[in-house]
């Protein structure tokens, strides 16, 4: 069965179709929320921003030209909203202690016991990366964005996307090494 594409939904939203908006929201709100949460590191702020992001999508749907994937367009809006929120409330950016709390959300007792496992350490280090590095790692690995799409979302040249990703990974290795895990790279 073929589902209605995001682009078709957006064209309907441009015409004021509230149901199309509900479908688009249901399809994307979790991923957009997680992208925003990883940037602002505050659940309440992220939840507020989700409403703002999708309200912008509702308002700007008529301007969407389909030059990029709908999800790329939505993440661009989400990023702009998140960075604006951080500029308004810089104190809301999470410190290391809160980063650990985010990590701990998913930790069942068994996972907690395995904190020193490599995978767990890797997740902790992912949570400790700088905002720029977190963002690019998430866009590439979680949101499955190509070099070109990341360049569009972040607003940097494609060559910079590659080098930023490389340095994000390098930083990850350094953080792991501080925890006693040497990956033998870089």
């Amino acid at each position: 069965m073929q589902t209605t594409s995001d682009e078709v939904l957006i064209s309907r939203i441009a015409g004021g179709d509230r149901l199309a908006m509900q479908v688009l929201y249901a399809r994307h709100h979790v991923r957009v929320y997680r992208f925003v949460l990883r940037l602002v590191r505050n659940e309440a702020t992220a939840e507020d921003l989700i409403s703002e992001v999708f309200l912008d999508i509702w308002r700007q749907a008529g301007k969407f030209e389909g030059r990029s994937a709908a999800s790329t367009w939505m993440l661009s809006i989400a990023r702009f909203k998140a960075l604006s929120a951080l500029r308004r409330k810089p104190d809301e950016e999470l410190d290391d202690e809160m980063a650990e709390q985010i990590e701990d959300h998913a930790d069942d007792p068994e996972t907690a016991l395995a904190k020193k496992d490599k995978a767990s350490a890797l997740r902790q280090c992912l949570a400790r990366l700088s905002a720029d590095h977190r963002e690019i790692i998430d866009l590439v690995y979680y949101h499955e964005k190509s070099v070109e799409e990341v360049a569009e979302i972040v607003g940097i040249p494609e060559a910079t996307v590659k080098t930023r990703m490389f340095y994000a990974r390098k930083k990850l290795s350094e953080l792991l090494k501080e925890q006693g895990i040497d990956r033998g790279w870089p």
Partner: protein
């Protein structure tokens, strides 16, 4: 630690692509380059495993972040309801075609456009050939109603399948005696003449339905 200081030539460039290769978002050409490099460079293959670990744990981390509460959706739709009313959605053919344009991905559009350009070139040659033949055989023509009048006949709007070759498109057009009346339009769409005379809508729909089954066709619909 000194691994990066003694890199094999070209390794750095390929290594930068590894995250996208793991995520499956490289072009076919780049993916092949990476595959070839991984096959001949064991150190690069080892580093690729590190990338795959990162990919898995990034997904794991994000998946543990939960989801927004229903409050976010309620808030959103309360705001939407407070917005000024917009024009109602139309379900006319024009609207549906617009939606169809919107449903095409940029990559599909590019491929479709490429195929369509080939098609129109081939078709132009085909039409020219037919016209020459007609001229030499002295076929009957009326001054008032030429067979190729731009607005005469029955039409369909068509987008060729992205994977269709120029040979397949040519064969499709020739076999079904179709001619391109106008285009390309946005989305790589063409208006094709199905018959030189107006035929009943039901008959046109039946023909178009049959044409849809051809593998050279990505999309086809009747049009005025």
């Amino acid at each position: 630690m000194n691994a990066t200081k003694q890199e094999a030539p070209g390794r750095q460039e390929i290594e930068e692509l590894l995250p996208w290769h793991a995520a499956g978002t490289l072009s076919r050409r780049d993916a092949q380059r990476v595959e070839d490099a991984l096959a001949r460079d064991p150190e690069l293959a080892r580093r690729y495993e590190l990338v795959r670990d990162e990919l898995g744990e990034t997904i794991h981390l994000n998946e543990t972040l939960g989801a927004p509460s229903a409050r976010a959706m309620e808030k959103l739709f309360a705001k939407i309801d407070a917005e000024p009313a917009r024009r109602q959605v139309s379900f006319s053919l024009g609207s549906r075609i617009s939606e169809f344009f919107a449903s095409l991905t940029p990559r599909t559009l590019a491929l479709a456009s490429g195929a369509a350009v080939l098609a129109i070139l081939v078709q132009a040659g085909f039409i020219a050939g037919m016209m020459l033949n007609e001229t030499t055989t002295g076929g009957y023509q009326t001054a008032s109603a030429p067979a190729t009048a731009p607005d005469a006949g029955s039409f369909a709007i068509i987008r060729f399948a992205p994977q269709a070759s120029s040979e397949e498109i040519t064969k499709f057009l020739e076999t079904n005696k179709l001619s391109i009346a106008s285009g390309p339009m946005a989305g790589g769409l063409y208006k094709v003449r199905v018959a030189v005379t107006g035929i009943p809508k039901a008959e046109l729909a039946r023909i178009v339905k049959k044409l849809q089954e051809d593998k050279a066709v990505g999309f086809i619909a009747t049009t005025e």
